[in-house]
Amino acid sequence: MTAHGVEAKTSAAPRGMASPDELRSSLRIPIIILIVLGLGAPFFVYPVFLMKMLCFALFACAFNLLLGYVGLLSFGHALFLGGAGYLAAHAAKVWGLPFELAVLTGTATAAVLGLAVGWLAIRRQGIYFAMITLALAQMFYFFCLRAPFTGGEDGIQGVPRGKLLGVLSLEGNLRMYFVVLAIFLFGFFFILRVVNSPFGQVLKAVRENEPRAVSLGYKADHYKLIAFVLSAALSGLAGATKAIVFQLASLTDVYWTTSGEVILMVLLGGLGTIFGPVVGAVVIVCVESFLAGLGGWVTVVQGGLFVVCVLAFRRGIVGELSRVLHRPL
């Protein structure tokens, strides 16, 4: 079993080999496009649908931080999305906290959960890591099914959106959208910053060759754990925001199918690419809403996409694009 990243042997995506300046110039135009699209989209598309995309895009970016840059495949990220959602919803509804504090509560919960799960799971590598995270997430699912404050099968419904900083009411969808866009962009740039920092370089070194990184004096486990907690916290940020936007925290968000969904988003968009998770999330959310009327076929299409991606399309959409354009994206 190897400790290498998923893409290590396939040269799937461009590595972080581009110099910071090169990367900056290469990313400038796509980032401008992303921001313009984000600002303009709600005037053409239903904002609630876009907010769903943004929440999942942030979730996928957070997941990609772990899989794409550290090579750790977590099969339990729904735990952080859903766990944060429950706590944020509880904080907003029962404790009556304002929007920003409720979201912070959820994010902090996810970070703590991430610390606990990561601490246990990094004891094993490769597919064991995947199985352990999956099992712990399933345990959390059963906990949520039973715990009194989650509302069991009903979930927490009718969560108030509240007011931003106590003044700005978020009941209007357009206003809510721009807050969610701001949260997404914060998460996106935060991850971009982490990936291109010296810390991010060490993460990539651990992914490429863990024993070598250890022999150079880096405590690989510490780096992995910090990356895991960061990824969990950002997933939590996405989950908490999602719960408040949709005024609902439910069991679906902690179930293993959600963990699978985010993997598919990242795989389809492009592992270890900067824009891949965003593109993947947008595509999957669109496909799902398009197929929503067809019931069980969503699962079939997801499964089929998995198979096609793994067999024939391992670079993903953005990975292929970046290969054609010869620039990191």
Binding site: L73, A130, I132, M139, F142, G260, V300, V301, Q302, F306
Partner: protein, 295 residues
């Protein structure tokens, strides 16, 4: 009524029996996973889905072709085994040399695919499957009532686990298998057709899953969702036992089934999570698993 630790003795033995039944399926499934992992180096995520397909196939044969339990017990694993070999030949084979995580992702996709298709045709609720007449009824053991079919399931599971152990540890085929797990290149140099061995092993592993599925059909309902959650528990079982030894898989499977059953008696709230809690404890104490070799 006689009680032990304040629990009626009937309830205790009843749950113990349920635990042994669940343990049988944990053991059979984790055994298949371990054999496949040994040779292919991947975790077969669609194991649960193929277990479900095995049960579904038995139900379909009974419903549409009038083929009963006994032929289904052989036919269903055969069909699923051949189907598995097809999967190995057409898909898994192409992932050799890549990171094993890709195998996990591919088989996860297949699991979703199978489960989704089954859901579309059969719905969530599932169908009942009758216990074969030869095994209906039960006997009173004095301290508890033992349904014949449940006794049969435990017996056959133990037998099959033993058989698998015998085949891998005591036969020529098993020797090839173990040698290929250690060093496939060298075994190939000795003139053994390793790719064919891999295909065969994968087929056998999933046939074992389908076999478990047919046996489970009369106990649980035949439902498209029967494999999804089960496989996650089996993953935890595999993490606890470590995939290093066949005997380890068997012991861990049955043991955890029994512990789960006892938890249902003494602290029912935790019965769903006890296996995962044990997994966490084992990871803290012995990260390589109870029977695993350190990696």
């Amino acid at each position: 009524m006689t009680t032990i630790f304040g629990v009626p003795i009937q309830a205790l033995f009843g749950q113990l029996l349920v635990g042994l039944i669940n343990g049988s399926f944990y053991a059979l499934l984790s055994l298949g996973l371990a054999i496949i992992f040994g040779l292919l180096g991947i975790i077969n995520f669609c194991h649960g889905a193929l277990y479900m397909l095995g049960a579904l196939l038995a139900w379909l044969m009974l419903e549409h072709l009038g083929i009963g339990y006994w032929p289904a017990l052989i036919l269903s694993p055969l069909v699923v085994g051949l189907f598995g070999m097809l999967i190995e030949r057409t898909m898994l084979k192409r992932l050799r040399g890549l990171d094993p995580l890709y195998g996990l992702l591919l088989t996860f996709g297949l699991a979703l695919l199978f489960q989704g298709v089954a859901l579309n045709y059969f719905g969530v609720s599932g169908e009942p499957y009758d216990i074969p007449p030869q095994l209906s009824g039960g006997r009173n053991l004095g301290f508890m009532f033992l349904p014949n079919y449940r006794a049969w399931v435990i017996l056959v599971s133990v037998l099959f686990c033993g058989l698998t152990w015998f085949v891998t540890e005591r036969t020529r085929f098993g020797a090839y298998l173990r040698a290929s797990t250690e060093n496939p290149l060298l075994v190939q140099a000795f003139g053994i057709n390793v790719p064919r061995l891999i295909t065969l092993t994968y087929g056998l592993g999933v046939a074992l899953a389908a076999f478990a599925g047919v046996m489970a059909a009369p106990i649980y309902r035949v439902s498209p969702l029967m494999g999804g959650d089960l496989i996650i528990v089996v993953f935890a079982v595999v993490v606890i036992g470590g995939m290093g030894s066949i005997l380890g898989s068997i012991v861990t499977g049955f043991g955890l089934g029994v512990i789960e059953g006892l938890t249902k008696v003494f602290y029912p709230e935790a019965s769903n999570t006890v296996v995962f809690v044990i997994m966490a404890i084992v990871l803290l104490v012995k990260p390589a698993g109870l029977f695993g070799r350190a990696t």
